[in-house]
Chain length 319, copies 2
């Protein structure tokens, strides 16, 4: 089968052996989405070797006991060991021995087939088209913020970054009734938020809102975005970190400011899939505006280049 | 009057004019305590110029309308503007225009007299001797952790640092019923915690407890302490930062680890005085073991040197 792989620090489309299901499920991939993490991994982040990609929708083609056979599914990307305290506490996402689809020790979704434990798969309601279902994973990551931080209609929230993740975060948080303020560098991307009634600003003007926000979500993945986030945060406010700054060495955080202003920083990576599927089913999120381009998997290397260009949002791969 | 001052980057004992009360209260200082922050300020932290010191007990000598006259008091060190949103929300500790006793725009406590707004003063119950009352401010800072982070008897808590602040934090947290584990470099200081039934360890052995703790309090103020704190923290755990690393440039925090392990970092500076006074009144905290030496204010410069020596805990100044 075809697979988009990182091998010897190079991104290549390769023909590899089709996996067998073994004790897991074998999923035929219908559509996969390129995430910024894929670009970072191709650039060397996390030292991953193998098939990249973790956003997908597909159909179960083989499985132990034929469970879920023919079912259209999306999949939770972390596969825990099932034995450690965290797995037993139903938190395989933080299992120290976990594998992560296309990120850590497990081949990913930019391929004709992928494998995941049956327990990771979730049926996709018929109402949700493939192009939206692919967004389940990043939307779950946005919803994950609400698992970690209390936000209600009185919370003043800013989101830094107008990329795919920032725009998903902003929309999810706005559904809680909180007034949301998105800071980004691209007028045309900010317009996507504005169409949902969300206030936006270029970074220059955002400086006027210094120390105004209870919660600031850093979703830009840039050092300047981080600086803006800290600027907008009020004393005793909460900074939510959504991005793994791949390029940067451990970025600098002003610890004196953290202590003196009694700021909280909350790292947030992934979230549960069910709330995301519920939102997609309700059509509560503008997904269509976040889709830029689609390529056949054959053109995977080119598609990755496109996904890294300014102004490009989600790029799909179709095997 | 005599005052221990930082002027032109030098620490000196000087004769200055005795302040008048004006619209505030004038307090005759009975006893003041040297905090690590004083040492940092003398080293250039925060660019403060004036009389240093913020831990004190004294008696109100003059005040508008003779309020609290003759009353023995301690004092909340942050004086807000009284007009901004934060002050109106009863949080002058974070007022952007605040002054802070001996730290920011306001002469401090290592002097014969100091001034504070009447609203900042709290009467000291007769049961509490001066030598214990001086600890109200640092003990309040330790209690402040419980304002910011949920800790109960099931929380696994580690405290990094066996200095005055670390030992106060450990004792306060232990009172909540949580098992506390103190990591420090000085066997004789660790023994103070052990006498309270608190488990302790040298850093070398602490490495065995990797990723075991729900909450880790960094109270060492050192880069190695910070690294140990991160090591001991479990995924989704909370790191409480108590120290303002004065010497260091903005210290490095591994943002990738924060996001991947979904860690929270909570900055904690000061706390309310009343819970601290309550603990002192009950004799719930071993304060005596934390007192090392006492000097007359005349010997202030020497006392500051002593306070900076290894193995020395609290040093008092008596005007």
């Amino acid at each position: 089968m075809k697979a988009l792989r990182v091998e010897r620090k190079k991104l290549r489309l390769r023909e590899i052996e089709k996996p067998t299901c073994g004790e897991e499920a074998l999923v035929r991939v219908h559509l996969s989405g390129i995430c910024n993490t894929d670009l970072e991994i191709a650039g060397g982040y996390a030292g991953f070797k193998g098939t990249i990609g973790h956003e997908f929708v597909g159909v179960v083609e083989e499985s132990p006991g034929d469970a879920m056979l023919g079912q259209r599914v999306v999949g939770e990307i972390n596969a825990g060991c099932g034995k450690c305290d965290l797995c037993k506490a139903d938190d395989p996402r933080h299992c120290p021995n976990r594998t992560v689809l296309g990120i850590l020790g497990r081949d990913g979704a930019h391929a004709e087939f992928l494998r995941l434990p049956l327990a990771n798969l979730i049926a996709v309601p018929d109402l949700i088209e493939d192009e939206h279902a692919v967004f389940t994973e990043p939307l779950a990551a946005a919803c994950g913020i609400l698992e970690r931080v209390k936000i209600n209609k009185n919370s003043r929230v800013a989101v830094i970054g107008d990329g795919k993740l920032g725009l998903l975060c902003a929309q999810v948080i706005a559904l809680s009734g909180a007034p949301v303020f998105v800071v980004g560098k691209h007028a045309e991307k900010l317009r996507i938020a504005e169409r949902r009634g969300i206030e936006t600003s270029l970074p220059r003007e955002a400086a006027k809102r210094r120390r105004e926000f209870d919660v600031v979500v850093e979703a830009s993945g840039s050092a300047s975005g981080f600086a803006t986030a800290m600027e907008l945060l009020r004393p005793r406010g909460t900074l939510v970190l959504k991005s793994t700054f791949a390029g940067a060495d451990p970025a600098s955080i002003d610890q004196v400011r953290l202590v003196v202003d009694e700021i909280s920083i909350v790292g947030s990576r992934c979230g549960r899939f069910q709330p995301a599927l519920d939102l997609l089913k309700k059509g509560a999120i503008d997904i269509d505006s976040l889709i830029s381009e689609e390529y056949s998997l054959d053109k995977g290397v080119h598609a990755m280049e496109r996904a890294g260009k300014k102004g490009v949002l989600k790029v799909f791969l179709r095997p």
